[in-house]
Symmetry: none
Subunit: 455 residues, 2 copies
């Protein structure tokens, strides 16, 4: 394998350049900016690396970029990525152009560089390196790169249904993302939380904004929204929707043991993010248990009325909205949560609040001793010289259930380019150049390692 | 008096021209446009009408235009006006230049023509007519025209403190504004609600926006704001701040009787504003009592996190704000309300919520049988041939407490140029030319009537 790793080192500038090219192409699915251009760019990069690649169209959605690299051995490895990114706003907080991919202080700075273009491109580069050095891969690799992950993969379930034969069977799937923790230790994740993301709107006020003096007798949609939200969760953090916790599975003994093995540098985390303390004053095992195995209910956005900071306008507005996301754990069902939310609002006197479901994804998990998990652990030991931290669940969400669990494919994240200050979804997203180069090497090693697996 | 009224009719074109001149001079205090020019124009108009007029500077603010017209009798009448106007935006909705003062369909169209240049200029013209016909007024008149009413009169309290000797004693004050209701009946107002307008900010989360999956363990300023607001008022509309209602005076028997005499077409109101019903299902007397004599707590604006309608971003934001206005009734104190709000938040575990006070004005009221009120009522009967509707309180706010009640000066609005479709603060602001001419006559009559008053 040293020949391939050496080849990666010799080609590092070219590989870094490929990542910069990918980052300089905006692909903001939320805003419909540059998405098709990025899909085409990913297809071209895959083709140039030697894959049979094409855009698989989705009616009313962004195409899935599919790439097939046939190998010599029987094993089949799926690689899930997404080529879309979050919006870069607020722009004024960026220290360099979010689509400039500037290299500064050993890092590449760009929207989407961590989440998840570095992984998509590193995996393409790993194929390139293998083929340049050895001619052929020891296993078959399938790239599945969607363009709607950042908007909740609304069409992927349908796409998987229609393309099941193309993406199965597979012996394992490497999920998007992955990286180091505060101590530099690689973290692997065997599952994802699910999500139910809704927009709540209160608009049963007057047919026009009014002078706020009329608030004596005219209903105020902003108050209605505040009160409705207040029934969902109070400062004790317990979500008040009836039946919300019914399907929450307690962690298995193995998962608890895995969690216990995960260090969490609380002081460092608090200092990095400028916090006085954690929610509810938690620490230690309770903190970790809540972080990994508990669902959430989060107000992600809130707006209505006059919003010019520091200025005065006395208005009784007629519309207000909030975005709320519920992060779900096995075996909660996002569609059931949406139904229970509607029933909750009705039962609490808020039938006037409209609910629009913007995303619904099931939680997913893989057994901690699956062959793909063991193969990735072996690679980390070889490349990084340490035992990776393998966690049962990552608090983020994604279509892992649809693409893996529902198809019987074990999935795990890769030793990728992320780090604790990567700022995914936030201004000044970044990765370290060296982590990116190592991500390429790790994937190249995994091709060899997983090809050897007896399943 | 007929000689003076005839003089007004003979000079109507000149008086209309003066109003157009005033309206063609922008004076937008919010945007700092044309304010000093307008102050100087008002001073010149006052001087030409025979007043001793000057600009009284305010450190860091717009000058007050002060005009003194000495009369033969002992009575002293103050006239409060403001020479600033609201911004004209949105410009595209105007049918003619907001600063063109075009006359069309019997109306003058201009930003500020109703609020409140027609009153300022009509009062100057009334002085002019008196002096031209009789040489001298029968009472002393003081003009006090400020240039910051549309931004909440932030410096007027200080100015009054420093110039008390100049504006007292006075036997009565005629307030800015006034006019006809839907039925053409003149409405007089003997008071104003006060206001405490605050911006609440929750910003004690992380030092950056984070991925919403971190909501398991990281505090969410949006939730903090929602919960804090929820402690202020619930769906029963009762404001929960301790002591908030302590100073609320019940309406006097006379005020209740006056309120009973005020018609309120509920069906028409509901239909006009597309409402199913009034707050709390109120109607009849209860509705009117709440509208006029109860304070409010209104969320006027709300913002934080990701606010793009219909789109998905899973963010744990680190800042959220709300604008809240409290409309106050006699004898509530806006500064006390701000202090009680702070104490309330602290006591309910929301010491982290910042409070910025953007406006604070006391409520004000005048006894319904004050001589100045009676004098204006007499003028309305003579000029308009009907009994005016005299209301104890107008739900809007203004510096009436500072300029009148605190100085022991009874105040009432005048039979002015406003009408229900005047569109103050909105595009296509206008008054009827005939209402303006009548406003001049009404003020000329009031000089005579109030001069006769025994106080």
């Amino acid at each position: 394998m040293n020949d391939i790793l050496t080849f990666v080192d010799q080609n590092r500038d070219r590989y870094i350049g490929l990542l910069q090219t990918a980052c300089r192409q905006p692909s903001i699915s939320t805003q419909g900016i540059g998405v098709l251009e990025m899909a085409e760019l990913a297809r071209r990069m895959l083709t140039e690396a030697g894959a049979e690649a094409r855009l698989s169209p989705i009616d009313g959605g962004n195409p899935v970029v599919v790439g097939l690299v046939r190998g010599t051995g029987p094993r089949v490895l799926n690689l899930y990525n997404h080529y879309d990114v979050q919006p870069p706003e607020p722009l004024e907080l960026w220290h360099s152009d979010p689509f400039g991919a500037e290299i500064r202080d050993g890092r590449i700075w760009a929207r989407g560089v961590a989440d998840n273009k570095c992984h998509l491109v590193a995996r393409i580069c790993a194929v390139d390196a293998w083929r340049q050095v050895r001619g052929q891969l020891p296993l078959t690799v399938r790239f599945i790169a969607e363009g709607e992950e950042e908007v909740g993969s609304p069409n992927l379930e349908r796409w998987v249904h229609d393309h099941r034969a193309e993406i199965t069977p597979a012996d394992g799937c490497i999920w998007e993302g992955g990286g180091r923790d505060f101590n530099g230790r690689i973290r692997l994740s065997c599952g994802l939380k699910g999500i139910c993301y809704v927009e709540l709107t209160s608009a049963r006020g007057a047919n026009t904004d009014m002078h706020s003096s009329r608030a004596t007798i005219v209903p105020n949609p902003l108050w209605r929204l505040v009160w409705a939200l207040g029934t969902l969760k109070g400062p004790d953090e317990r979500i008040q929707i009836a039946g919300f916790y019914d399907r929450v599975l307690p962690p298995t003994a193995e998962e608890q043991a895995a969690l216990d093995a995960v260090p969490f540098d609380e002081a460092n985390f608090l200092q990095t993010f400028g916090l006085d303390g954690f929610l509810l004053g938690l620490s230690g095992r309770d903190l970790k248990l809540k972080d990994m195995f508990q669902p959430t209910c989060t107000v992600c956005g809130l707006w209505g009325g006059y919003t010019e900071p520091g200025r005065l306008k006395t208005v009784l507005a007629n519309r207000a909205s909030a975005k709320v996301d519920f992060r779900l754990v096995p075996d909660q069902d996002p569609h059931e949560v949406a139904r229970r939310l509607r029933a909750h609002l009705d039962a609490h006197g808020f039938a006037d609040i409209e609910v629009q479901v913007l995303a619904a994804e099931h939680p997913a998990r893989t057994a901690l001793d699956a062959p793909i998990v063991r193969a990735v652990q072996t690679v980390v030991r070889r490349l990084h010289g340490h035992e990776p931290m393998t966690v049962p669940l990552t608090p983020g969400s994604g279509p892992m259930y649809v693409l893996c669990q529902a198809l019987g494919i074990p999935a795990v994240s890769s030793p990728g380019g992320g780090h604790p200050d990567s700022k995914g979804h936030a201004p000044n997203e970044n990765i370290y150049v060296e982590d990116y180069v190592n991500a390429i090497k790790g994937m190249a090693l995994l091709f060899e390692e997983f090809a050897k697996t007896q399943t």
